[in-house]
C-alpha cells in the first residue's frame, strides 16, 4: 500500500466510526434525551454507557495490547464530536481522555481498565484544588497510611461515578489513588452547572483509598491525560457548534417576519455566514490538532497542540451559541427551544479544563519557549 492508500483507509475507518456513533445517538433520542435526563435530574444514563461501550467507544484511543481499539485521539475526536452534536451527558470525554488516559499510562494492567472500557463503571478524576481565594491552587491533599485527607475541586462526573481517581501528595512525592464513591469520610458537595450536570467538591477526612501509582510518573501522566481530554473537549465543542449552527440555519429559513423568511435578509445572511466560517475553521483546526497529537510523543509538544484546539473550539462555540440565541430572537431565550441547551452545554465545556483566553496564553508561552530554544 502506498502512503495515500493508508491515509485514505484511515479516513474510511473514521468515517465508519462517525456513522455508527451518530446512528447510536440518534436512535437513543438525540438531543431530546439530554433534555429528559436534565429534567429528571438523573445525570447520565448507565444503560447508554453500556451501549457506548459495546460500540467500542471508550477504548477507542487505548492501544490494542491494552484492550482498546488503538485508533488514537483522532478517533476519540470523532466520537467527541458526535457526543457534542446531541449534547449527550454521558462521561465520554472524561473517560476516554482523563480516566483511561491516566490508567493506561500508569497502570495498564489494573482490572479497572477493562471495566471502564466495558462500560461497567465510570470513574471521575479528582486532581484540582481550590485555594483560599477560590481560584485553582497547588495540591495539598494528603495520602498516608492508606487514607486521604484534604479536598479536591471541580470534579466532573462526581455524581454517578463508581469511584474517584485522586491525585494526592505523600511524604515521598505524588501518588495516584482510588477511592470508592461510598468510601467512609468522603463528603461530596454538589454544584449544579448550566447544563444540569454536577461539579463535585470533594472533602476527605481519613478516607480509605488504594494506591495505584506513585512518583514522578504521576504528574507526567496527569499532564498527558489532561492534554488528551482538553483536545477531546475541543472536539466535543466542534460537534456542538456544528449542530447549534444547523438548528439556527433551519430556524432562519422558516421563521417569517415582514412576510419573508428572516434568512432572506442580508444582515442575517452575513451573520449566518460568519458562524459557518467560524465553525469550519474550528473543525479543520481541531481535527488537524488531534491528528498531530497522534503522531507526536513529546508531551511538551502535545500539550500546546491541545491548547490550540481548545482555544479555537471555545472561541467558535461561544460565538456560535450566543449568536444562535440572537438569531432565534425571543424564543431563543426560552428553555423550550433546544438552542438554549447548546448554549448552556457550551458554557460548561468552555469552563472545563481552561477557556480560550487561558489556552491562548499557554499556547503562546510554549511557542515563545520553543522559539527561545532554537
Amino acid at each position: 500500500m502506498t502512503q495515500t492508500d493508508i491515509l485514505s483507509s484511515e479516513q474510511e475507518d473514521l468515517r465508519l466510526l462517525r456513522e455508527s456513533a451518530r446512528t447510536l445517538f440518534e436512535r437513543a433520542g438525540g438531543s431530546d434525551r439530554a433534555r429528559q435526563l436534565r429534567d429528571a435530574g438523573s445525570g447520565f444514563d448507565p444503560e447508554m454507557v453500556r451501549e457506548l461501550a459495546e460500540a467500542g467507544v471508550f477504548g477507542v484511543a487505548v492501544p490494542e495490547d491494552q484492550g482498546g481499539l488503538g485508533m488514537g485521539l483522532a478517533a476519540g475526536g470523532v466520537i467527541a464530536e458526535e457526543v457534542g452534536r446531541v449534547i449527550a451527558p454521558e462521561p465520554v470525554v472524561l473517560t476516554i481522555g482523563l480516566s483511561l488516559g491516566l490508567l493506561r499510562r500508569l497502570c495498564p494492567d489494573h482490572p479497572k481498565m477493562a471495566q471502564l472500557i466495558g462500560g461497567e463503571i465510570s470513574l471521575a478524576v479528582a486532581w484540582q484544588e481550590r485555594g483560599p481565594d477560590g481560584a485553582p491552587a497547588d495540591a495539598t491533599c494528603r495520602y498516608a497510611d492508606g487514607k486521604l485527607t484534604g479536598g479536591k475541586a471541580w470534579v466532573v462526573g462526581a455524581i454517578g461515578s463508581h469511584g474517584f481517581l485522586v491525585v494526592a501528595e505523600q511524604d515521598d512525592g505524588p501518588v495516584l489513588v482510588l477511592a470508592e464513591a461510598d468510601a467512609q469520610g468522603l463528603v461530596i458537595d454538589k454544584r449544579t452547572q448550566a447544563d444540569g450536570s454536577s461539579l463535585g467538591e470533594l472533602s476527605f477526612s481519613g478516607t480509605p483509598a488504594v494506591e495505584l501509582a506513585r512518583g514522578g510518573a504521576v504528574p507526567t501522566a496527569l499532564a498527558e491525560a489532561v492534554a488528551d481530554a482538553t483536545a477531546l473537549a475541543a472536539a466535543e465543542l466542534v460537534g456542538l457548534s456544528e449542530r447549534a449552527f444547523e438548528i439556527t440555519l433551519d430556524y432562519i429559513k422558516t421563521r417569517e417576519q415582514f412576510d419573508k423568511p428572516i434568512g432572506s435578509f442580508q444582515v442575517i445572511q452575513h451573520r449566518a455566514v460568519e458562524l459557518n466560517v467560524m465553525c469550519e475553521v474550528a473543525q479543520a483546526g481541531v481535527r488537524e490538532a488531534l491528528a498531530q497529537m497522534d503522531s507526536e510523543t513529546d508531551p511538551k509538544v502535545r500539550a500546546p497542540i491541545a491548547s490550540r484546539a481548545k482555544a479555537r473550539a471555545v472561541t467558535a462555540a461561544k460565538r456560535i451559541t450566543r449568536d444562535a440565541i440572537q438569531l432565534h430572537g425571543a424564543v431563543g431565550y426560552t428553555d423550550e427551544f433546544d438552542i438554549g441547551l447548546y448554549l448552556n452545554r457550551a458554557l460548561v465545556l468552555s469552563a472545563w479544563l481552561g477557556d480560550d483566553a487561558y489556552h491562548r496564553r499557554i499556547w503562546f508561552e510554549a511557542r515563545e519557549a520553543e522559539g527561545a530554544a532554537q
Binding site: V273, V281, E288, A311
Partner: protein
C-alpha cells in the same frame, strides 16, 4: 519533455526549490511593489528558457502541465522564496481562456507570445458602474466591417500603463433580456489612438491601478474569444482555481512573521494585551492553514471545489488586515510614518503592509459579495 506529475511531490518540491534558490535574482525577492516588465525581464528570460512560465498550461501549449497538487507546490515554493509572479495576467487569465475557448489560429498566434512576454496583458473587467455588480458593465463593442469598435471606460486595470494588450468583457448586445447575457470576451491592442491610459494614485502613493478610456478604439473581429454574447459564462469558468489561490495562507503568514520580529524588537510582547491579540492572530493563521489544507486535499483527489472555498478568502484577508493593524499598534508613535523602520536587524515597512492589506477584502469579489455567495450557494438561504 518532463512529465512532472510522474515524479513524487517531495522530489518535485525539491526541484522547484532548488531552481528558485539558485536562479531567482536576490534583488527581486519579496518585492514590495508590482514591477514593470523591464524590471523583471532578466528573470522572465530564465523562466522562459526553463519552460516554467506557465505551470498550469498543458504541455502541448508550452506549459508544465502540472496537476492541482503539483501546482499548489509550485506556488507554495514561489511564495516561500518571495518570487515575484511577474506580469502573469496573460499566463493566468488569457492563456487558459484561449486554450479552453479559442480557435486553433488564436492558440497558434497568441499562446507563444504570452509565454515570451512579447505581449503583456492587462485585465479589463471593472468599470466605474460595474464593480461588485460586474454584469452591469457598459463598455460597448460594435461590429464595423472586419473590426469591433470599442467605446467606454474600464477602471482598476492593474498595470495597464505597462501592457501591450487588454482582454476585456464588453457589451455586444445591449438589448439582451438579462444583463449577464450580451457580454463578450474581446482581445484588443493598447497601442492605438483610441485607447487612453491614466494611472490612479492609491492611498499608499503607488500607481499600479489605471483607468482605460476607449474612444472608437478598434480590434479585428478575429479577436473575439469564444461565441459572441457568451463572455460571462466563460469568465466564470476561469475562476475555479483562482478561488483557492486567492485564499491561500501565504499573505497572512508572511505578515505574521514580520509582525513577530518587529514586535519582539520593540518589546511589544511585554504587554499582556498585545500578547493575547498576537496569539489570537497567530492561531487564526494556523487554523486557516488547516482549512486551506482540507480544500487543497480535495483538489489533490481530483475533486472540483464548491462555492464553500470562498470562506478561505474571507478569513485570510480579514486576518491579514488584523495583523497589519497590530503592526501599527506595535509601532506606537512610528505608526504614522512612511518607509522602512529598522528594528534590531530587521527592517519593516509598517504602513506598506497596512496598505497592502486593505484592497484584499475588496478585490477578487469583495468579502461582502463572497458572503452573499456563501449564504445562497452553500447555506441555501432564500432571496
Amino acid at each position: 519533455m518532463t512529465d512532472w506529475n510522474a515524479i513524487s511531490d517531495v522530489e518535485f518540491r525539491k526541484e522547484v526549490r532548488q531552481f528558485f534558490e539558485a536562479e531567482y535574482p536576490e534583488e527581486l525577492r519579496h518585492l514590495p511593489h508590482r514591477p514593470k516588465f523591464a524590471e523583471i525581464e532578466h528573470w522572465h528570460r530564465k523562466l522562459h528558457a526553463k519552460g516554467w512560465v506557465a505551470p498550469a498550461w498543458p504541455a502541448e501549449f508550452g506549459g508544465m502541465g502540472l496537476n492541482a497538487a503539483k501546482l499548489l507546490i509550485f506556488y507554495e515554493e514561489q511564495q516561500r522564496w518571495g518570487v515575484n509572479r511577474g506580469r502573469d495576467m496573460g499566463v493566468q487569465m488569457v492563456g487558459p481562456l484561449i486554450i479552453k475557448f479559442g480557435t486553433q489560429e488564436q492558440k497558434d498566434y497568441w499562446l507563444p507570445r504570452i509565454l515570451s512576454c512579447e505581449d503583456i496583458w492587462c485585465q479589463g473587467y471593472s468599470e466605474p458602474g460595474a464593480g461588485s455588480d460586474l454584469a452591469n458593465l457598459r463598455t460597448r463593442a460594435e461590429i464595423d466591417g472586419d473590426d469591433f469598435v470599442i467605446n467606454g471606460q474600464k477602471i482598476w486595470t492593474t498595470m495597464a500603463h505597462d501592457a501591450t494588450h487588454i482582454f476585456m468583457l464588453v457589451r455586444t448586445d445591449p438589448d439582451a433580456p438579462k444583463k449577464q447575457q450580451g457580454i463578450s470576451f474581446l482581445l484588443a491592442p493598447m497601442n492605438q489612438p483610441g485607447v487612453d491610459v491614466r494611472t490612479i494614485t492609491t492611498l499608499s502613493g503607488e500607481t499600479e491601478f489605471c483607468e482605460v478610456f476607449f474612444d472608437n478604439a478598434r480590434t479585428p473581429r478575429e479577436n473575439l474569444v469564444g461565441e459572441l454574447n457568451k463572455g460571462w459564462t466563460m469568465a466564470k469558468a476561469l475562476l475555479s482555481f483562482e478561488r483557492i489561490f486567492i485564499g491561500s495562507p501565504s499573505l497572512a503568514q508572511n505578515a505574521l512573521g514580520q509582525l513577530e520580529s518587529f514586535a519582539r524588537g520593540r518589546g511589544a510582547f511585554d504587554d499582556p494585551v498585545f500578547r493575547d491579540r498576537f496569539a489570537q492572530a497567530a492561531l487564526d493563521v494556523e487554523d486557516h492553514a488547516a482549512l486551506y489544507a482540507r480544500f487543497a486535499d480535495q483538489l489533490k483527489r481530483g475533486e472540483t471545489l464548491g462555492a464553500d472555498v470562498s470562506m478561505l478568502k474571507i478569513w485570510v484577508t480579514e486576518c491579514f488586515q488584523r495583523i497589519t493593524e497590530l503592526m501599527i499598534e506595535a509601532a506606537g508613535p512610528d505608526g504614522g510614518s512612511i518607509g522602512p523602520l529598522q528594528v534590531g536587524n530587521v527592517s519593516v515597512d509598517v504602513l506598506s503592509s497596512f496598505y497592502k492589506a486593505r484592497p484584499t477584502t475588496i478585490y477578487g469579489g469583495s468579502n461582502e459579495i463572497q458572503r452573499n455567495i456563501l449564504s445562497k450557494a452553500v447555506l441555501g438561504l432564500p432571496g
